[in-house]
Subunit: 198 residues, 2 copies
Amino acid sequence: MHYPEPIAKLIESFMKLPGIGQKTAARLAFFCMDMEEDEVVKFANALISTKRDLHYCSVCGNITESDPCVICQDQSRDKTTVLVVENPRDIMSMEKIREFNGLYHVLHGVLSPMEGTGPEDLNIPGLIKRLQNEEMNEVIIATNATAEGEATAMYLSRLIKPAGIKVTRLAYGLAVGSDIEYADEMTLFRAIDGRREL
Amino acid sequence: MHYPEPIAKLIESFMKLPGIGQKTAARLAFFCMDMEEDEVVKFANALISTKRDLHYCSVCGNITESDPCVICQDQSRDKTTVLVVENPRDIMSMEKIREFNGLYHVLHGVLSPMEGTGPEDLNIPGLIKRLQNEEMNEVIIATNATAEGEATAMYLSRLIKPAGIKVTRLAYGLAVGSDIEYADEMTLFRAIDGRREL
């Protein structure tokens, strides 16, 4: 016996999403069956609309309905600084703190020899082009604090520095609210290494 | 700054699913944006079709396109035995082992005072009706081995036994392939209690 076709197809679709196995997919599909019909229709429309109406900004690589995106179009932003992130969700995290007023650039990934991602697979040519055309003073590299993120930061730094542009990296150290007792050794090492005078 | 509307709506829809928080919903939504368009369309159609074309079998409560469902219609199945489960996914698990050839009955939940689920919220009247109308010999209660599943089994047993129908419960004991060292105390207790002669 198999599941009826509609739900079998839905389970199959859910299984294509990252981190969702067969059991979870079945649970989600059954949940959808019990949702209100208008909620399900909204869900389906949002899927189609996300695929059809959104694309990546041709300047910075952020997701957008218009092109260039609202951030690239915003005349009030500081056009001398660009903050480089791995993916568009990181832009959202940065914008939440309302501290950074420059522009962004999305790499859409990180260098990863393990996964076969080289510089040519990332949005690096776009970044180099922006640095040539615009009056850039500083590139802030905000890739994740992982081995791949760090390697990508090093690679970009070596690529950009010779052009005389300042390249910076987000600070490493203790997370606010965290206990020293539970910090890992590398984090503690970086926290000591990057200590600042009070 | 907020996410563009289409993806914000998609994130909202994903967040309505069980066990999916904001971060995961955002990750899934971005993943959908990068999927092939025909995959996204398939996903959306499966959602709508699952909601519109599937319903619960009026006899046993299983999900089905036709009514009664294929299992209830199957003349080759043993109509004297009914196996009671919490949800339609449990039917799928049972069918996979190809051991049980009787009928099923889906409760669509378990008794749970904590969540305010009483007998009137479950598909129990339907079960009682089936037991009165049909030539039933045995009711196998296959609710989960949880406190709620156990309480529901007890409740059903007290309700059905007086009618002279045999009521059985799935065996408790060691899971096949498991280590005694790692078995919890209640499971070990039940394994000793339910020991069988070799």
